[in-house]
Symmetry: C2
Subunit: 194 residues, 2 copies
Amino acid sequence: MSDILKEVLAANEEYAANFGDKANLAMPPKRRFAILTCMDARLDPAKFAGLAEGDAHVIRNAGGRASDDAIRSLVISYKLLGTREWFVIHHTDCGMETFTNDTIRNLLANSLEPAEFDGENWRDIGKGPGSRAGEYIEFLTISNLEQSVIDDVERIRSHPLVPGYITIYGFIYDVKSGRLIEVPEASRIGRATI
Amino acid sequence: MSDILKEVLAANEEYAANFGDKANLAMPPKRRFAILTCMDARLDPAKFAGLAEGDAHVIRNAGGRASDDAIRSLVISYKLLGTREWFVIHHTDCGMETFTNDTIRNLLANSLEPAEFDGENWRDIGKGPGSRAGEYIEFLTISNLEQSVIDDVERIRSHPLVPGYITIYGFIYDVKSGRLIEVPEASRIGRATI
């Protein structure tokens, strides 16, 4: 058994031993909202947004992007589980700002071992074989952080399955301060219309 | 400003005020692993798996499914940010077990207001207009929980961009106890091969 697996199971043992009355929580989010944010290890949405178990849906992917899959999740979130406010939260120092589709496609074609970042460029240090399957993936990289929040709120706002009564807020989380900074233009686009 | 927005910002203010040395965390996950799990409000992966900020990637969507978008995120996770072990964690009492593509497509075609669950069936209580755009979404519902974990580990394991040295574990999180229960068949399929 790997060290990581042992550690995760030990931490889980402790969590379960102090589970308290969380067994009684209902499936629908009590506070009727959802957060879409990045998978980045430095982000703990429950902590930075003050969520207890049972409060809110949390959707995370690379970049916190409004991918088709995030939209699938958001549609289920409001239609079946009653959320009414959604936060799109990207963050400073995001890995998605450091590469393009071409960068990662070339790295993957070269090898499937991890690449290294020198602060400006990604370099492949691994050995092949790689795979060209990256050509079929749109990686949803970010070239401008505010714009990516605006674009994603806009994409969600204009989706035919997203009703006008939902409010969508756009934010950037600052990994240096822990602070949420609103992107006013995004929140303006995300305003409920009915 | 909505109550939810006020509460989130107040909680964030407090978090940022006690941010400590987290400003120094690096982008790559310190413990080199990733968790793919459900957006369900009752799940707090940082708590149930013992993660501090900076430790691990967390990817979440409706069901914790190995969607194309989850695979996009996992590829970025290992290739650029060096993770080597991945946990696929579905959970008991998952909303994704309560409906099918047809169910939600019909509900959405009827109205974009929330539906109600009577413990067996979803009923639409809202008013139209709805939208037929749900026809274009595969909702990745779950009919058997263990099987969905096995299927998802298998999909990730056999993806051409996922190298053999990555270990993938399959688990079910029990919302009644807080406990992680391994799905041995999934973890067997997910074993590293090199």
